[in-house]
């Protein structure tokens, strides 16, 4: 039986990706660069798209 829910996409977001979003001001990006360790800078968040279907 196929799973009812599954993840369609995992997309990591680093500080560079966050910087292209208008929601993050220059001040917030600057703060992120100062506070987040370099080894974590490429994946500060992950966007996940999940799919689910009601059972028949």
């Amino acid at each position: 039986m196929p799973p009812r829910t599954r993840a369609g996409e995992h997309r990591p977001f680093g500080i560079k990706q966050a910087a292209i979003f208008p929601l993050f001001t220059d001040e917030v990006i600057k703060l992120m660069r100062e506070l987040i360790p370099a080894e974590r800078a490429d994946a500060v968040a992950i966007s996940v798209i999940a799919k689910g279907r009601k059972p028949a």
Binding site: G8, E9, R11, F13, Q17, I20, F21, P22, L23, S47, V48, I49, K51
Partner: protein, 112 residues
Amino acid sequence: MSEDLLFQNEIKEAVRSAYEHIDHGGGDPVADRLYTRDQLSRIPPGAIRWALGVGNPVVHAELQPGETVLDLGSGGGIDTILAAHEVGPTGRAIGVDLLPEMVERASANARR
């Protein structure tokens, strides 16, 4: 239950305020990163300009003609419009957003 609702109004206001402060769109680089060229060719520039999401749900949804789609947090309408293309004239794509101005933008973009 009461703890789950704690700060709900404050959170809603913070989200509203953050989006209200974006007066110029600026979603083009976001759209370039998340959507395919084929998808973007079918979207009005205004919807691309206001693409502020973090994913491309339509490409995963496997939408079929005649289905109904509800886009919660539809913003400038890019995903709603893409979904409308997939479900066709026998389907429906409904966008809902917290900000009335976003709803107006999405409606204008959908008419183009």
